[in-house]
Subunit: 316 residues, 2 copies
């Protein structure tokens, strides 16, 4: 009997959903809104309704569905307990069990960044590798660690929190996590903008950025691409922090590859060449030359990874 | 039929060997000298002779021996290729295959620090955990990463090289690996002594260390235990570097526990309390409070881990 599964990626605004064949073929994908009111109580029932509607439309019986994989925006322990998702209004609860009871299907949940890394490893830029580290550069810095083709979640669901590696002792502002000097304060889109802003304040160097009142990370990258000195200096600083953190990770895990995804990764070689240079300069000699590749699946990485995760559980 | 295996830990001076039951009971252990002359050509034949002699003495047939596990002092790739062991005179070769051909038994090889970590996870301080990181503080700093009860080796055998995490940009001396500013330049016994020496040169602070011409890391720890200000400052610096590196590792892997072994770990709470304080101060909040425990097996960790490794291969 041919088997299918669902891959679901719950975000703060929409829930992305996909129906997959066991081989990894994406048959259809769609989205539903994330209803976060009332502590996000409706989210799982909305997912159930949508899953059941699609099963009906596709003529799928429960025994043809291997299960539902699900990425959520917060820490998930290895036994499937969400420790809280601020963006969804969720506190701590056993999310796998909850959706399993609603649907009667096996459920497997993981942190969204970890799940995206698994998706890229399965069907994206990492499909040649079983051991990789994915870095997502957006407003924050996310990470996912894949060892032997599986997510490393950590007992408190905090593995892959590379955005919170403590890179600076001289940072005054607090990070969203409560610490100060985290990687994401320097290497995220937000970090890049704040580097550029501070440099513009502290220097008289001419810069096109001075003409853009509320410039974004994309503006900084665009200006850097055109040779703007301040934008280049800001980019050098952000990428040096990232390359250094990746060198730490290299010494610890010696991954076969690093993948970089997220909005900022679209700046391409401007970012990749700098990060590679710093990584190769600092990492243990035996780890030099690790491929550092752009992620491929974009916003679909989460649904692919979620599908893969629930299929893997069945393999045990 | 009851099964047995050999666990072997090849060092630069002696080869430690153990005969184990499959359950992990160590039946006997012994050592042979490591003959490093002629590019260490005799090492594997000496091991074969010793294994065969013990099998004969114990009346063990080949089919009762699950295999030979072996830790070697250098990088080993996941497919069992040694990339070179300076201390043994070895270059690059397929060490598993070589010993397998000599003995007719299944062989599994790994880096000695990784193998020691597996030994502690199996029968030592880490037996309650499946995911842990072991740090060995000796003249250098070694490391081993265990995920889901197995060694993470890395495609180039360089996983667990935490001693070479690039912690300082202001270090002038080169590390043995060729880089500068590595963790082991600060947190090893050698690093501790060099911190103290530099502080004694730069300051007039009275210190008992001034009366010990060639003081060792143990002297520094002993003096620190007696409240010696310079020794304490050196210890603070070494343990801050180590705690910071462990905080990086915590953010990446969120291990269930850290183990610290090696000669310097005998200084006990003097070291552990400082490392814990720095770790909890810097790590991602979700990882705070990770147990940081002294290793238990001492010099036997390697033979235990080697035995475990070859038994695990059989489980596949």
């Amino acid at each position: 009997m041919e088997m299918f599964c669902f891959g679901i990626d719950i975000g703060g605004t929409t829930v992305k959903m996909g129906l997959f064949r066991q081989c990894g073929e994406l048959l259809r994908k769609w989205e539903i809104p994330t209803r976060t009111q009332n502590h996000g109580q409706a989210i799982l029932t909305d997912i159930r309704d949508s899953v059941q509607a699609v099963m009906k439309e596709e003529g799928l019986a429960a025994e043809q569905v291997a299960g539902i994989g699900m990425g959520v925006p917060g820490p998930v322990t290895q036994d499937g307990t969400v420790l809280g998702c601020v963006n969804l209004g969720w506190g701590q609860f056993q999310v796998e069990q909850a959706l399993q009871e609603l649907t009667g299907l096996p459920v497997c949940a993981g942190n969204d960044a970890n799940v995206a890394a698994l998706g890229e490893q399965w069907k994206g830029a990492g499909s040649d590798y079983k051991n990789l580290v994915m870095v997502t550069l957006g407003t924050g810095v996310g990470g996912g660690i894949i060892i032997d083709g599986r997510i490393v979640a950590g007992p408190k669901g905090a593995a892959g929190e590379i955005g919170h590696m403590p890179m600076f002792t001289d940072e005054a502002r607090a990070c969203s996590c409560g610490n100060t000097g985290c990687l994401e304060q320097s290497a995220s889109a937000t970090g890049l903008v704040s580097h550029a802003r501070r440099m513009l304040e502290q220097q008289d160097t001419p810069s096109k950025l001075r003409d853009i009142p509320q410039f974004t990370a994309k503006d900084v990258c665009d200006c850097a691409g055109q040779g703007d000195a301040v934008a280049l200096a800001a980019l050098d600083l952000a990428t040096r922090t990232l390359g250094t953190a990746m060198a730490y990770i290299g010494c610890v895990l010696n991954p076969e590859a690093f993948l970089i995804g997220g909005g900022m990764s679209r700046a391409g070689e401007l970012i990749f060449s700098r990060v590679k240079k710093v990584y190769d300069e600092l990492v243990f000699p035996g780890c030099k030359g690790t491929p550092i590749l752009p992620a491929k699946l974009g916003n679909d990485a989460g649904i692919y990874g979620a599908a893969r995760m629930v299929l893997q559980r069945g393999e045990h």
